[in-house]
């Protein structure tokens, strides 16, 4: 399993090693990660657990299958799914591990909002986690001597509070409602309690007498002078001024993703778009999956903090791991990028632009087949034209996709050419009326980002009267930023055309969704209008 430290000195070493999909590196730190590690063992994986404090694994039969590097910190990691090489810093020096998958499952960073609310911590002002600890230790019981105890909770008055914050507040209230003479107040902007299980707790808290204030505009002001804390606010229902001097003011906290995932982020170029989270903000990615195959983010690392959802995340990780292992046998997407080593000059443009982190390099760039999603962004980015998309061997059920694809953009006879992303544009095109469809020559591409300048220019040279590129909406792209790259490239090309004295309106970029063929239809009509007046300056005529 373990490799010698020498093999880490160069990027070339790992190409020789066989892939191993049985070991999972779990970056943990709390009970959720321990639960995940145990769950993975049940599924037959072996686990390398890294994180402090030292975890307690319960059943004995996990022995041998969980390797625990307690008090370890991940310092560096590289590689692709099946062969990740991790360097872990431990008190006894660096430890190197080779694993097949990486799961980031660290607990969140919790930062109290003292500054956001402009208050100083003191006896009467505490943060939520601290208060809950005090309650669970029974320390608040002593306060109950007063006639009436007013406890005020702030939840997301600076914006929005996470459901996990409300869950924690209800944890506190559950303890407090058993005490006499305690009156709880919750001040918030949005009562985010629609989450599974939370609404019933909200109702229980309300029926136990807790008062909720949801402010739409003016937030309460806290006056803090000489140990007296006063909340001044206008009740949203009565539109009347109130003030409350709480015995305890409990402030909520920012729940932030773990800050120790930099080495993992560094492996995924497109994680820049999702920082500080690891998973892309695109609905095309299933919950725990990141843009890089084999790297998964659970809970806080993907912006999920509510405990019941963390349990779902554990199952999602298990499911995604199994799915990935199945896919490695026949490939996930229809295409895979191939590098011609002779042409590669090691400029590393592809390494930087691959949203999936699928490209490694040694003497030339090389694409990892298991990680490549066949989006073709590297193909259009490569300045040496050293990369091409090749068809992956597929199961027969995928053949329908193949038929939809038009391979050659031969002579277009003055038609419009539409480059259609197979995730959105192609589906929208299929919904168009046959009259509209007849006006356009469709070319289905794996991602709008695969359409390079040369493709567009070639289409014009081949006699297309106009070119349309249809990609997904920003944030919907299955390759994170493919649609943005297409938009950027088309804008540049339009500028070049304009500078060359040609009609730049012969190119058009439309972001759309599968269920919005009307966007495509209006774009085609617009393109027809702008090309009608400009057929004279055809580049086929002027360029040749």
């Amino acid at each position: 399993m373990s490799t010698t430290p020498q093999s880490f000195s160069g990027e070339s070493a790992h190409k020789a090693d066989a892939k191993d999909f049985s070991a999972v590196l779990v970056l943990g730190g709390d009970a959720v990660a321990v639960q995940l590690a145990e769950r993975l063992c049940e599924e037959g994986f072996s686990v390398v657990y890294v994180g402090e404090p030292e975890p307690i694994f319960t059943p004995e039969n996990y022995d041998g299958k969980i390797e625990c590097i307690a008090n370890g910190v991940l310092k560096a990691i590289h590689g692709v799914t099946g062969a990740f090489y991790a360097s872990v810093q431990t008190p006894c020096g660096m430890v190197q591990k080779k694993v097949g998958f990486v799961v980031v499952a660290q607990p969140p960073m919790i930062v109290p909002k003292y500054e956001a609310y402009g208050v100083k911590p003191e006896n009467k002002v505490v943060c939520l986690s601290r208060f809950l600890e005090q309650l669970q230790d029974g320390q608040i019981g002593a306060l109950g001597e007063a006639d009436q105890l007013h406890i005020a909770f702030f939840a997301g008055l600076d914006g929005v509070a996470d459901t996990a914050t409300f869950a924690k507040i209800f944890d506190c209230i559950d303890v407090l409602i058993n005490q006499k003479n305690v009156q709880c107040y919750v001040f918030t902007r949005h009562l985010k309690v629609a989450e599974n299980g939370l609404e019933a707790r909200y109702r229980r808290a309300r029926e136990a007498g807790t008062l909720f204030f949801a402010f739409e505009q003016d937030a309460p002001v806290v006056e803090q002078t000489d140990g007296v804390v006063k909340i001044v606010f206008e009740d949203p229902h009565l539109s009347a001024g109130f003030e409350l001097a709480p015995d305890i003011l409990v402030l909520d906290e920012w729940l932030l993703p773990p800050d120790s995932v930099e080495p993992v982020c560094a492996m995924i170029p497109s994680s820049l778009r999702s920082r500080p989270y690891l998973t892309p903000p695109s609905p095309r990615f299933p919950s725990v999956e990141t843009a890089k195959a084999g790297v998964f983010a659970l809970g806080p690392a993907r912006g999920t903090f509510y405990a019941p959802k963390l349990r779902d995340d554990i199952e999602s990780v298990v499911g995604s791991l199994k799915k990935l292992i199945t896919l490695t046998q026949h490939g996930g997407s229809a295409f895979v990028a191939m590098v011609e080593p002779e042409k590669c000059t090691l400029c590393l443009t592809c390494v930087r632009t691959c949203p999936h982190g699928a490209i490694q390099f040694a003497t030339s760039a090389s694409v990892d087949e298991n990680s490549c999603q066949g989006c073709g962004i590297c193909v259009s980015e490569c300045p040496m034209s050293a990369i091409a998309l090749a068809e992956r061997k597929r199961s027969p059920s995928d053949n329908s996709k193949e038929q939809r694809r038009v391979e050659s953009a031969a002579l277009h006879n003055g038609k419009l050419v539409a480059f259609l992303c197979e995730h959105s544009g192609a589906n929208a095109y299929a919904e168009l009326s046959s009259a509209l469809r007849a006006l356009v020559k469709p070319i289905v591409v794996p991602c709008a980002g695969a359409v390079g300048e040369m493709h567009v220019v070639q289409a014009l040279l081949d006699g297309a009267s106009g070119v349309l590129v249809a990609g997904c909406f920003d944030g919907n792209c299955a390759s994170v930023y493919g649609t943005n790259r297409a938009a950027y490239r088309l804008a540049l090309l339009q500028q070049t055309l304009a500078e060359a004295g040609l009609n730049k309106d012969r190119l058009i970029y439309v972001p759309l969704a599968s269920n919005a063929p009307y966007i495509l239809a209006s774009a085609i009509e617009e393109l027809l209008r702008s090309t009608d007046s400009s057929t004279q300056d055809s580049p086929a005529a002027s360029m040749s």
């Binding site: 109702r203 309300r206 007498g209 008062l211 001044v232 206008e234 009347a240 109130f242 003030e243 409350l244």
Partner: protein
């Protein structure tokens, strides 16, 4: 703006209302305003707002609620109860509030006058010979005032 200090209010007032028969639902309210929208009184007199009354009770504004003549405007149409998604049963809550107000002696003078008439005549207006003679001419039986019965009830 004039501010009310919540510390000076009586947080246990809502429990006092909740302990009255019919008042149990008060803490279920999540201020959706359906009752206000359904209330015919609120159409005529916007100051009477079921939602606001509940809010004042929950905040513990005991004096402001009990000494307010508005609470006696409820016509017990049960419209609020029909629409309430939280089963607050506001009409019953109003009975509870009015009962407490009566115990505290916070009843408007007009209502007390009605009570005096009821106690004296057994109904809200006096039935004299004039009315009974008319009824006799029309073949209707005479009405007897049963003030004693109502006195017992009151």
């Amino acid at each position: 703006m004039k501010r009310t200090s919540i510390n000076d209010l009586d947080a246990s007032f809502k429990w006092r209302v909740a302990r009255q028969p019919g008042g149990e639902g008060i803490t279920r309210c999540f201020s959706c305003k359906a009752c206000t929208a359904a209330c015919p009184i609120c159409l005529i007199e916007p100051r009477y707002d079921p939602r606001k009354i509940i809010r004042m009770v929950l905040l513990g504004m005991e004096q402001e609620v009990l000494k307010n003549d508005l609470i006696w405007l409820c016509s017990t149409c049960y419209g609020c109860r029909e629409v309430c998604p939280q089963d607050v049963r506001f009409t019953d809550v109003m009975f509870a509030i009015k009962n407490i107000a009566a115990q505290e002696g916070c009843v408007p003078a007009g209502l007390m006058g009605q009570k005096t008439i009821l106690k004296k005549h057994g109904r809200l207006y006096e039935v004299g010979d004039f009315e009974n003679e008319k009824r006799e001419k029309m073949g209707l039986p005479a009405i007897r005032e049963m003030a004693d019965d109502y006195d017992k009830l009151l």
